[in-house]
Subunit: 330 residues, 2 copies
DNA sequence: CTGTTAGCGCTTTCAA
DNA sequence: TTGAAAGCGCTAACAG
């Protein structure tokens, strides 16, 4: 490799000291950096351009002991629920001119904890944890511990999901959203719920809300992973006389509807279906999917804004709104 | 903030030299690092744990002059086409235990070039550029120049899209895929094409392939952005007597189908529709969408594997396979 | 097997 | 306004 030009090289080429070169090239916005004469300044800029100089971000981070970096940890980037949130995070990061390192952690809090430790190693200024808390108390405790380490190292953490972590929290109204679906389903004779993994707090909240909204408990519970195919399979597992199904994510619901249809059941004549999240594509199913709207992109944006802005951890509720469409008779 | 513990602190706490601490904590896998006595080793590990020590990744990168980092530049993470590719990249990065910094660049080559320069500044080992080349010769030239700088700095670059950059290239068969749709549409009387922005090479390739497959040129061309709503609007813009429409992305096609339906046209009785990409959700449209399958997740995985593995830039074709479904009469 | 020490490239006082 | 020099935290020879 052609060794990367260093500030040293630029300074030399411009015939100035390395300090001067630093001031004109990477000088912080602070007033003290503008103090370079126009003549030298021009020479430095010119030399930098000629050499294709780019500051070594590591060295800068080390010297400044701060790194314009935010970590984004989410369950699965291939799921639109998460990629939409990610898109909001990226937009804000761009505004703040921060880089973002991303990782898919799955649902294991220990994996998230490990990544968070790595982020601390990178001296990231912020970390956004997107996804559900779990019922693994031990795991959650370790994650919380790691969040505290991160915060102690002057990092800002924000979580999109349930409260429970010592960090900013954006808390979608899973219970309320579930309840709205439950109320909407009142009067339907035989109700099924397609849930995600039971260890996820999100799943519990949505289920609990749903049942309280429905006003009774006789539902059939089918557990699936949060995938399209999981939803499809769940449609085979549901009782034949089901007249309404609450599927806990839009991605699952999408597969679920197809599964139902392949089984000869009609939506909504035979079965009402409702999802959760309101990702864009569910409007285009036929019939369009009734679902609970979450402002996903904004949630991502908000989470980073919060992390970067607010000093004291805040918990902020995010309203979840039932959107009734054709899949439940609209 | 509680100052982060340094290697110094750990060494002190363990009563050993900083070198020893370094060897046990961050020692490269090379044989020379295992040479620490079990006794001291244990003391160091213990001290590190007590202090919650995490190596400063910046300092490490600087000292080692290499950074286990890959950059991922794509048009729009909210689009499943890209998020699926991203998911493949993340999986491989995880295997290699590399971090990935991600950025949405839109379609402007200069934005990508700027991000690439930043990646060079971070001494990233690899960069994956996902997205179409454009017809902006000047912009592409600047991007190519930047790729060369990146490579010169010992970085590996891989591109998912068209050839044209001095890097590894994973080249989906856009022309062939388009042609397959064209052949499939032969015999349909009035054909429309919903294209993305004309400045994208991908769009040109798919269109060119389509026309050659169709065997004639009298199609109606509607240009839209690559969004769901763009597809929906395009459905209003297409001639009323259209009997077949090739929509150049699945996301657009998804909205397009709804637009057509809202306009009173039936799929496939009145209009055949085909998309491109085969993202998971299009199987669940009714009728299911005919489309051109691209192995998106694998493409992402392959791109990074290639970048990390192969020295000499290679161009690899990725087959695109027509999948006929209900939206075109299957 | 362990410790000393010279950098890695940049920022930032402190003097001049 | 400019330059000299002391680190930032860690790695990697080189000595012992």
């Amino acid at each position: 490799m052609t060794r990367q030009p260093t500030l040293q090289d630029v300074a030399q080429a411009a015939g100035v000291s390395i300090a001067t070169a630093s001031r004109v090239l990477n000088g912080s916005a602070s007033a003290t950096s503008r103090t370079v004469g126009p003549h030298l300044r021009a020479r430095v800029l010119d030399a930098a351009r000629r050499l294709h100089y780019t500051a070594n971000a590591q060295a800068q981070a080390l010297a400044r002991s701060s790194n314009p970096l935010v970590g984004l940890l989410l369950h699965d980037i291939a799921d639109p629920y998460f990629s939409l949130i990610a898109s909001g995070v990226l937009a804000v990061a761009e505004e703040y001119r921060m880089r973002v390192v991303i990782a898919s952690t799955g649902t294991d809090p220990d994996v998230a904890a490990a990544h968070l430790a790595a982020l601390r190693g990178q001296r990231a200024q912020a970390a956004i944890l997107v996804g559900s808390r779990t019922t693994s108390d031990a795991g959650e405790a370790r994650l919380a511990e790691e969040v505290e380490q991160f915060t102690a190292a002057d990092g800002r953490a924000a979580c999109v999901g349930q409260p429970g972590l010592p960090a900013h929290t954006l808390c979608p109204d899973n219970t309320g959203g579930g309840a709205a679906v439950g109320r909407h389903f009142r009067g339907r004779s035989s109700v099924a719920v397609v849930a995600g993994p039971g260890r996820l707090q999100t799943v519990r909240d949505r289920l609990h809300g749903f049942r309280s909204g429905l006003g009774r408990l006789e539902d059939t519970l089918v557990e699936a992973d949060f995938s399209r195919d999981g939803g499809y399979r769940a449609a085979q597992a549901v009782p034949a006389d089901t007249t309404a199904a609450f599927v806990m994510s839009d991605v699952m619901a999408t597969g679920f509807c197809t599964g139902l249809r392949d089984r000869g059941l009609r939506i909504p004549q035979d079965v009402w279906v409702a999802g959760f999240g309101d990702v864009p594509s569910v409007r285009d199913l036929s019939p369009a999917l009734t679902t609970v709207r979450l402002p996903l992109v904004e949630m991502g944006a908000r989470a980073l804004t919060l992390a970067l802005g607010e000093e004291r951890p805040q918990t902020i509720g995010v309203p979840a709104e039932l959107v009734v469409r054709g899949s439940s008779g609209a």
